[in-house]
Symmetry: C2
Subunit: 436 residues, 2 copies
């Protein structure tokens, strides 16, 4: 490459965009040294070019028209950070068509249309990178695509949404209920005004779909990801979890089975307190990857935030710029060359938590246990407790059973006269190889 400088255009000067710009500007000397020539942010497109950002940039770089940047022949790398599928997809498409390398942190776009865009980049020998799409500032996509590339990935499990982890941590530690903690999180800027994407698990769904597709080298349809949010978690469950030695987290799990199928799901989990993910507090994220040769490796760090996520977006830019100088672009394209069927949720095997209220009279425990046993659910832990209102509460933690058997047992229990209500159910996870 004969160019004397690499020019970068950024679309979307929001939280992550501002962080990425700051890193590119403030660490320009370090980046120049690593790349060999300067890497300069020469254009920034955003709807709002009036609000002052905490980045030293010449006012002339700002434009409200993304096309100005996409069609600028001097721009080598386009960073897309507007989020959502449209018009982000069209912008990325145009950038690739115009021969520009692309960096994005757009999990929804990658989860839904990543393969198409990666194929397009590949055909044009362009780099298309998205480390910031999962895990905020935590390196995870790069390591899975390179260092762990010789492993058959068996399982990826993580806490990949900082907002919900903040809420659940607060609920557990302060004993507060979901609604009040959500309000607090919104006031602190940890949750958006419309928190649906986070609290219903959609954000985590896109992220685990991306990790599964890389890990299992196959395309993943996001609609095949089972998804359940945290809005229904009651303070009662928090108390029971604590008493029994568990922590409730919103966990994303992708697992590949030996029959070639995969199961991908996002839902609240009671993690045994000795589980490596149980100690992940607040807005931190952590992702465990299990490979056939390496075993378990875990990646931990800030799961969101302007500077952390901005810094890995800038890291992708450095990588691409270095490739440009060495004429080495287009190394790692889409790696989805296998097909995997999806294991239906009712065949997924897991331990379960079950809380119910019963009329307090003789033989009730035996009756309930009988229903569980008849549905192949064996019991690991059971605690019965008298309540002031003369009902009794029984909490069960089962040994692993299929979701189908468990659901069927719960349906039957609801029809047992002495069971006045099934208050809550939740999946339960233990550390790998544990005998708990």
């Amino acid at each position: 490459m004969n160019r004397k400088q690499i020019n970068v255009g950024l679309i979307g000067m929001g939280i992550v965009g501002t962080g990425a710009a700051k890193v590119l500007v403030e660490n320009a000397d370090l980046i120049t040294a690593k790349v060999g020539i300067p890497v300069k942010l020469t254009k920034v497109a955003d709807k709002d070019i009036v609000t002052k950002r905490p980045v030293e940039l010449d006012p002339s770089v700002f434009t409200t028209d993304a096309n100005e940047l996409l069609n600028d022949p001097d721009i080598d790398i386009v960073i897309e950070l507007i989020g959502g599928v449209h018009p982000a997809k069209e912008f990325v498409h145009t950038a690739l068509a115009n021969g520009k390398h692309v960096v994005t942190a757009n999990k929804e776009l990658i989860a839904k249309d990543g393969h198409e865009l990666m194929d397009m980049a590949d055909q044009n020998k362009l780099d298309f990178m998205f480390e910031g799409a999962v895990g905020g500032g935590i390196p995870i996509i790069g390591p899975m695509k390179t260092v762990l590339a010789a492993n058959r990935i068996k399982r990826v499990m993580g806490i990949v949404n900082g907002t919900t982890n903040f809420i659940l941590t607060k609920m557990a530690e302060d004993g507060a209920d979901f609604d009040s903690v959500l309000k607090e999180a919104q006031a602190m800027g940890y949750a958006e005004a419309n928190p649906t994407a986070d609290v219903e698990g959609y954000d985590a769904k896109y992220k685990i779909a991306i990790l599964a597709s890389i890990g299992f080298v196959c395309r993943v349809n996001v609609d095949d990801v089972y998804c359940e949010g945290i809005t229904k978690i009651a303070a009662d469950e928090m108390r029971w979890a604590k008493e029994l030695g568990y922590v409730i987290k919103l966990v994303a799990i992708a697992s590949a089975s030996d029959d070639g199928k995969m199961a991908i799901r996002v839902h609240p989990v009671m993690l045994h307190e000795t589980h490596p993910l149980a100690s992940v507090r607040g807005v931190s994220n952590a992702i465990m990857v299990n490979g056939d040769a390496v075993g378990d490796v875990m990646f931990f760090g800030p799961g969101a935030g302007s500077m952390p996520t901005g810094s890995v977006v800038a890291g992708d830019v450095v990588d691409i710029a270095r490739n440009m100088v060495k004429n080495a672009n287009g190394r790692v394209g889409c790696t989805c060359f296998e097909h995997r069927d999806v294991t239906p949720m009712d065949q997924v095997v897991s331990s379960h938590y079950l809380r119910m209220r019963v009329i307090d009279r003789p033989n009730v425990l035996a009756q309930v246990a009988g229903v569980l046993g008849a549905n192949d659910i064996s019991v690991r832990t059971v605690v019965q407790r008298q309540r002031l209102d003369e009902f009794a509460e029984i909490v069960w933690i089962t040994h692993p059973a299929t979701e189908g058997d468990f659901r069927r047992a719960v349906s039957e229990l609801k029809r047992v006269p002495v069971v006045t209500s099934v208050c809550a159910t939740m999946h339960v996870e233990f550390p790998a190889g544990s005998k708990y």
Copy 2:
């Protein structure tokens, strides 16, 4: 590239070599799919070609002569896994001179001569990779060189030696002393017959020198790394650590200061039990990297072992093979383009643990505290306890002080008549930003 197959030669069929070979053979289909053409282990050199290894390889691939492999024009990638500087360096040199890409997990070689060999690879547009040199199966070198490349790394801190962590974990949990646990570790294959390199901290020294050179983009002379092993840690310290809420670990720390200097050290540390590294047990490793933008990220996993380390060696092979197919080799060469002076150990600032025996009479505590105060050592925690032998034991944990001030205080204390002995000292670390 027009080749129909990429050929790999392996020198050193020991523990890691066998793991790497197994992964390359058993996951050949996955690797072929990722690379685009087959990657085949066509030659293995080892002094011992008689012992049967648990890998399916044609007997004809084995040779006792490394040169046969190094001079084979059909071999594209050489894996060096014999360890030590000589003749490993000569082998790598010949491989690069003959136009072959190189993968190694040889920490001593990289720490001592990495820059020379990387420069040579760079000049020949060859890849030279060494992910397995630090952290066993944990991705750390790749992420630091790529994903975190836009961050100024401020600090790298880790448990990077599995043998010593196994020993210290056993000592803490079983109350056993160093010598007996070492014997047990040797019997279990976790420690070598000659355990010096591990227990004296040399292995960790090479590893932190490598991480520091990548993080701080400068060359590191391994002789500048302060190094202290675990052989002198007494069961008494284990008990005190437990009582006070700490865990003793052999920790490697590299820190860059704002004046452009760096301090690199390996020594036992009392980690406060809330420190993220405190929960790393047995042969596991964990490395925390602090960057100016990303903050703290942590990498955790198996720090050694045939399959874990072998799998990242194979991962490097996949990466190089993929580069070959895309004509993208020689992307990331040596990144040591800065110079940093080394902060002398006596200027390094840390909290300290200090245990002493004193004659039990009035005013002793005040006398000792006075000596500490006169040397600018302020006290965080102090516990005095009467012993059966009529001496008293006093244990101190100090606020941060320079090593020089602390050592001077200890020297003076040894001359105080009521102090019968200074039994032990140790560095102490708290979680980032903690107020403990």
